[in-house]
């Protein structure tokens, strides 16, 4: 993908989808097929969904399955959900392409599908998306980084699990931005699997390999944090500028303490939006193919409103009411 592709996507997202055929009366049974749940971001997104469901009395049941990163299991999970006569399927994929077929079968069976929180997906199997553009987010992060390092220098990129939509689009966005900054050299692209310890170890090796690193492109706060520790422990924090991360609480704490980096949000309320879109579909109202949940840039100076110093690192800034916050 590049800028043009992203623009095309935005256009395609704005297209309205006719949902009359999905119209249904309550009580409603909503199936949620999680590609994975062992990740605090999706836990928060799911809690948003639950919160939203509690606001709609017609939603009688919310059935959640977890494929634990196994796409074949996700296919099976969705099949099992369909067997339980759900009226709406919300999902986030382990891997977009892998679930395309089964989703198509769902739609053919009259069950509308809404993709929550992942990348925007156009396929017969996905009626609508509540999406965060990883590309836009990546672009915002990259541009902010370019600004902060003054448009020249040597940078490294830390991306999540190789092969995921997030990793792919963040890299595409970075490369698109870098095309405008010929004086910036991309030293290395690494995959830290959203794992702080792994990101730290990789960074320790990067520090060994490269005597000078001007900037770090890392849209995921939890990996940024591991990287920051590595720079700090190598005594090289002074030379480097961090890109914004997301609103991962541990990262926010670091931003607050160090006064740099900031955050480009990756809002967990995408889950809530997904259910809202789904309920619209069930009412038969036309919905846009993609409802973007916009990311915002929060500068380090303004981070105070976002950070919760008493919450764990593995926590997300959100508007969830207390009753729906994950147990701490």
């Amino acid at each position: 993908a590049d800028q043009a592709a992203d623009a095309a996507r935005t256009a395609s997202a704005a297209e309205m989808v006719d949902t009359a055929s999905f119209k249904k009366e309550g009580p409603l049974k909503v199936g949620v097929s999680a590609g994975y749940l062992a990740n605090s971001w999706v836990v928060f997104a799911l809690q948003h969904m639950r919160w939203e469901a509690s606001l709609h009395p017609e939603v009688q049941d919310l059935i959640v399955t977890d494929a634990s990163f196994n796409p074949a299991k996700q296919v099976s999970d969705i099949e099992d959900l369909l067997r339980q006569d759900i009226d709406l399927l919300i999902y986030w994929p382990v891997d977009d392409a892998s679930v395309e077929d089964v989703l198509k079968r769902a739609v053919e069976a009259g069950v509308p599908t809404v993709q929550a929180g992942g990348g925007f997906s156009v396929s017969e199997g996905t009626v609508a998306n509540a999406y965060i553009s990883q590309y836009k987010l990546g672009e915002m992060v990259a541009r902010q980084l370019m600004e902060d390092i003054g448009g020249k220098g040597k940078i490294v990129a830390m991306l999540p699990i190789a092969g995921t939509t997030a990793a792919v689009e963040q890299l595409d966005a970075l490369e698109a931005v870098l095309a405008e900054f010929p004086e910036v050299e991309l030293l290395s692209v690494e995959y830290g699997d959203w794992n702080r310890a792994k990101a730290k170890q990789i960074t320790e090796n990067l520090l060994q390999r490269f005597p000078s690193i001007t900037g770090v492109y890392s849209p995921a706060g939890q990996m940024s944090l591991g990287m920051a520790e590595a720079f700090d422990e190598a005594g090289r924090s002074a030379e480097v500028t961090f890109s914004p991360g997301d609103e991962y609480n541990g990262w926010l704490k670091w931003v607050a303490a160090n006064g740099q980096g900031g955050a480009v949000t990756f809002p967990t309320r995408a889950g809530q939006v997904a259910l809202q879109v789904g309920l619209e579909i069930l009412k038969g109202n036309p919905v846009p193919r993609g409802t973007a949940v916009p990311s915002e840039y929060v500068a380090s100076a303004d981070i105070g409103s976002l950070v919760s110093p008493d919450a764990p690192d593995d926590w997300w800034a959100s508007d969830l009411p207390d009753a729906f916050l994950p147990q701490q």
């Binding site: 999680a34 749940l37 059935i63 959640v64 399955t65 977890d66 494929a67 634990s68 990163f69 196994n70 796409p71 074949a72 296919v75 099976s76 999970d77 099949e79 099992d80 959900l81 067997r83 339980q84 382990v94 891997d95 977009d96 392409a97 892998s98 395309e100 077929d101 089964v102 079968r105 190789a162 092969g163 995921t164 990793a167 792919v168 995959y191």
Partner: protein
């Protein structure tokens, strides 16, 4: 007399478990007995079923193959990349993939014969190597499988899933091979007592080669089915499948120490696992609890299927 009867019970424990479990499930969870749901269960079990057939051969021969999950994963990625939605490519690619599976199996077998390693260690190492190779090749989903494979994996004929029919045919072939051919007899003997088999003129190294080639080919077949299910080449698709296959085989009463095994009972094990997973989903048991339960099932399975005294 008593011993004989106990042997009968032991041999058919998996059917008792599966039968009583399925019956109870059908009675108390109406969604379970829905024919479409049962067809789903079979569809979901197909990949594991194919793997379990190969692993039955391996384990009966007294060995183990931990690399099958990654072989399947490799085939998912390679076949999708090469077919890339072009149905005409299906046949050549399928043949090629079977060769890839056989080739890796052959490498396993040759290394085992020349390095004289414990198969557990060899295939553990292999698993890591193949996984690294897959990732080095691609770190993201690539390509598309063909319509043909998708149909095979998800379609049905007269309400019976095509993949289940395919597995049934394979099971038949596997069962015949293991119980009605010289090769099967020799394999069982080699697993039961390698030294005795060697003295009876059975070439252990040839059995090892054959068994790992079978394992590799079934892994490749499983990979093709999996590709059909996923529709695309996802690099992590094979992760963890080896453990599931071993558990299914062990549940089916095949002794990890070798010399006893039945393809049909292994399929019983696969069906049991698939039913449990389906039920847990139907009962909305949280995925975490499912994971915990799965671990317990692994533990229980091997506790139940301990080697008898003197066979360890």
């Amino acid at each position: 007399m008593f011993r004989m009867r106990w042997r009968m019970v032991e041999h058919n424990a998996i059917w008792l478990l599966l039968g009583s479990g399925a019956l109870a499930a059908a009675m108390f969870v109406p969604a379970f007995r829905d024919p479409e749901n049962l067809a789903n269960v079979m569809r979901q079990a197909a990949v594991l079923g194919v793997l379990a057939i190969g692993q039955t051969f391996v384990i009966t021969a007294g060995m183990i193959d931990l690399s099958i999950g990654q072989i399947a994963g490799l085939v998912v990625v390679l076949s999708s990349a090469m077919i890339n939605g072009d149905t005409a490519m299906t046949l050549p690619v399928v043949v090629l993939m079977l060769c890839v599976g056989a080739g890796i199996g052959l490498v396993n077998g040759i290394l085992l014969n020349t390095l004289r390693l414990h198969p557990l260690i060899l295939t553990l190492g292999m698993m890591s190597v193949i996984q690294g190779a897959i990732f080095t090749y691609t770190d993201r989903s690539i390509g598309r499988t063909s319509e043909l494979l998708t149909t095979l994996a998800n379609g049905s004929f007269l309400g019976i899933p095509l993949s289940a029919i395919a597995v049934a045919l394979l099971v038949g072939a596997g069962h015949l091979a293991l119980t009605r051919t010289r090769f099967g007899y020799h394999l069982v003997a080699a697993g039961g007592s390698p030294e005795s088999a060697r003295r009876a003129g059975i070439s252990l190294s040839r059995i090892r080669l054959a068994v790992f080639v079978i394992s590799g080919v079934t892994a490749a077949l499983a990979g093709l089915l999996l590709a059909g299910r996923l529709g695309t080449g996802y690099p992590l698709a094979g992760n963890g499948l080896e453990l599931d296959a071993i558990v299914a085989v062990v549940l089916g009463g095949t002794a990890l120490s070798g010399g006893r095994g039945s393809v049909i009972r292994s399929i019983g094990g696969v069906l049991l696992l698939a039913c449990i997973s389906n039920l847990l989903n139907l009962l909305e048991v949280s995925a975490y609890l499912q994971m915990f339960i799965k671990g317990l099932i692994v533990i229980l399975a091997i506790l139940i299927n301990q080697p008898r005294k003197g066979e360890a």
